[in-house]
């Protein structure tokens, strides 16, 4: 996954450089299908394209940095060697706990590093009659206590996002 991210970042950077060079070296006029574009128009278009590609490259770096931060957080030194709990494992554990607590609810869990601990963002689709504050509180208490106990990791915050209500 990390390798693909680096491939993507490299392609975006190359594309940004090429678009930037094109913007600098463009000929005075460009004709496309009979329409003549001025040098300024072509330069502006290529400049925007270069900026967009560079923005994509920066976004890839930000994603990589976030993943590195999360991986460092999930790596715990122990007396017999290191223990690394993959982000997927933590998300699966959280999903298992939520499934036991709220079997009627569909959900998705995302992880982020936060102040030496984990930030969990839980997206819920609740049944129509459910009390949102009550469910949110149950989810927060459950994940903070049980996930810490089962993984040894510190859960700093659990954000609950209710994105819809089902009719069932």
């Amino acid at each position: 996954m990390s390798f693909l991210l680096w491939v993507e970042a490299t392609i975006l950077l190359l594309a940004a450089v090429l678009a930037g060079l094109g913007a600098g070296w463009v000929t005075p006029e460009v004709t496309i299908q009979g329409n003549t574009l001025s040098q300024l128009t072509v330069r502006t278009a290529l400049g925007i394209l270069a900026a967009a590609f560079f923005g994509g490259f920066v976004a890839c770096l930000a994603i990589w940095r976030q993943r590195q931060g999360l991986a460092e957080l999930l790596r715990q030194p122990g007396p017999r060697g290191q223990v690394l709990i993959a982000p997927k494992t933590v998300a699966q554990l959280a999903s298992g706990l939520l499934f036991e607590e709220l079997p009627e609810t569909s959900f998705r869990v995302l992880l982020r590093p936060k102040k030496g601990g984990l930030l969990l963002r839980v997206f819920l689709r609740l049944p129509k009659e459910a009390s949102i504050p009550e469910v949110a509180e149950r989810v927060q208490e459950l994940l903070t206590a049980e996930l810490s106990r089962r993984t040894g990791l510190t859960v700093q915050e659990v954000q609950v996002v209710v994105h819809s209500a089902s009719s069932r």
């Binding site: 715990q76 060697g81 290191q82 494992t89 699966q92 298992g96 040894g152």
Partner: protein
């Protein structure tokens, strides 16, 4: 090809290939309840186990790295500690090589039927 580990030269040399150490570690992992191969299947024995166990020889010491899955409901730090101790014990008992560390990566959770 594996780098053999030399143990002593008084009565001849004993060479232990890295693959053998990996196999011993995998066999020890099989004995810990709740430990599975990263794909979710029971931890394999023999040659197949080497895909999930890396052995590094640092002079006369051994460093092992394992990738495992754990059964849902287990307390991961306790399970991993049991696993590390078991592997260290078995490898040191069978090879007489000191184990410096057993690094464990928990790649996924295995749910019982109907829970995933």
């Amino acid at each position: 090809m594996a780098r053999p580990e030399e143990l002593g030269e008084e009565a001849g040399r004993i060479n232990i290939a890295k693959e053998v150490i990996s196999s011993i570690a995998a066999l020890a992992a099989c004995e810990i309840p709740g430990v599975f191969a990263p794909g979710g299947e029971p931890f394999p024995r023999g040659a197949a186990a080497r895909r999930h166990v890396d052995t590094e020889l640092l002079g006369d010491r051994v460093r092992l790295s394992l990738r495992i899955a754990v059964e849902y409901g287990r307390v991961i730090p306790e399970l991993v500690q049991d696993l590390q101790e078991k592997i260290k014990l078995e490898v040191e008992r069978m090879t007489a090589l000191p184990v410096e560390a057993v690094d464990v990566e928990v790649t996924r959770v295995v749910f019982r039927k109907g829970k995933e």
